[in-house]
Symmetry: C3
Subunit: 137 residues, 3 copies
């Protein structure tokens, strides 16, 4: 059995957005007891990650890390048509994930206590992001 | 329903190789309308990524980024049997992806407009690379 | 057909732990000939990776690379409640993988000759880690 839905996320610019509740709701609606939940983002300048869900300082520190690793306006970049955060957004997306595949158990995504699923918007401007959720079991 | 095939990619050395058309063709042949397409590379010195498919400058900038992050001939490396690009190839593979899992919808991989699937060869010498494609639905 | 089991890994602190044999055994027990094996770690300070399985120097060099990229005790970190390796463990987890999805062929994970599946413990203290294995086919 395969069911699929699209989640739309309106971001307000660079930062992380918690998708966990929406995913758990999709799995519940799918009525799958044991299986898998594939989460896929249809963009190359925003990405997905599983991360600690309790302390907001984790997200701030991740942002600091990535801003240092792939700084906006890096003079080495030649793909700059959309501005100084264009190429860094691609780099940050490649270093994290476009797809996550979560086990479903007892009718829900079987995440660890401290795991949340986050969309990471890498552009500074607000964007409309589309995430496809496919549940099999 | 599960179908599986192997794609062979003859690389001409370090660089990116677009697999998108071959994957869409495999999905079409599988006759799956809604499901998932797993792409898996059977190597540890070449990898997979989803990336912007329009401007070649993106690939050049990614190469610049990775060459700076994990430089060939880094004196810190002790695994150097196959040359100065041996250990950097492993590092670059781990920071990107050995597997990608793409939703299938309406009989094709449901990628975003600007998303392409690329094999990233990290060795300088040409290699024969094997990619397993598994389609379920 | 979907089967699921949990693997428990008692780590002795930072380092890599080979899970390949346990995964192959799980696939064998599942009796799936062609399909997929999802491996998922339920933590945010330990991760999974596919890596070269022959030369221990690869793991040492990866550790050197990551320790340089995300050093313990980085003064930029504000999430430090659990010590100097707390935030680096989250960063290292995000740059590698919480899930791996391996093709099953002829009743086993169809890995390349040099590929092994490793749990990477990023904390210095020993931990009990849980990995969920879901096999479909």
């Amino acid at each position: 059995m395969t069911s699929q839905r699209e989640i739309h996320v309106a971001t307000s610019g660079r930062g992380t957005y918690d998708l966990t509740a929406q995913l758990q709701s999709a799995v519940k609606d799918a009525g799958v007891d044991v299986g898998l939940c594939n989460v896929f983002i249809r963009h190359t300048s925003a990405s997905l990650m599983l991360c600690e869900n309790a302390d907001p300082a984790v997200m701030r520190d991740l942002e600091t890390f990535m801003s240092r690793l792939a700084p906006d306006g890096d003079p080495a970049h030649t793909h700059t048509a959309e501005g100084p955060d264009d190429m860094p957004a691609h780099i940050r997306s490649i270093l994290t994930h476009a797809d996550l595949n979560l086990p479903v158990r007892n009718g829900r995504c079987d995440l660890g206590t401290w795991q949340g699923v986050f969309l990471w918007e890498h552009r500074h401007a607000p964007h409309q992001r589309k995430v496809t959720v496919t549940i099999t079991g």
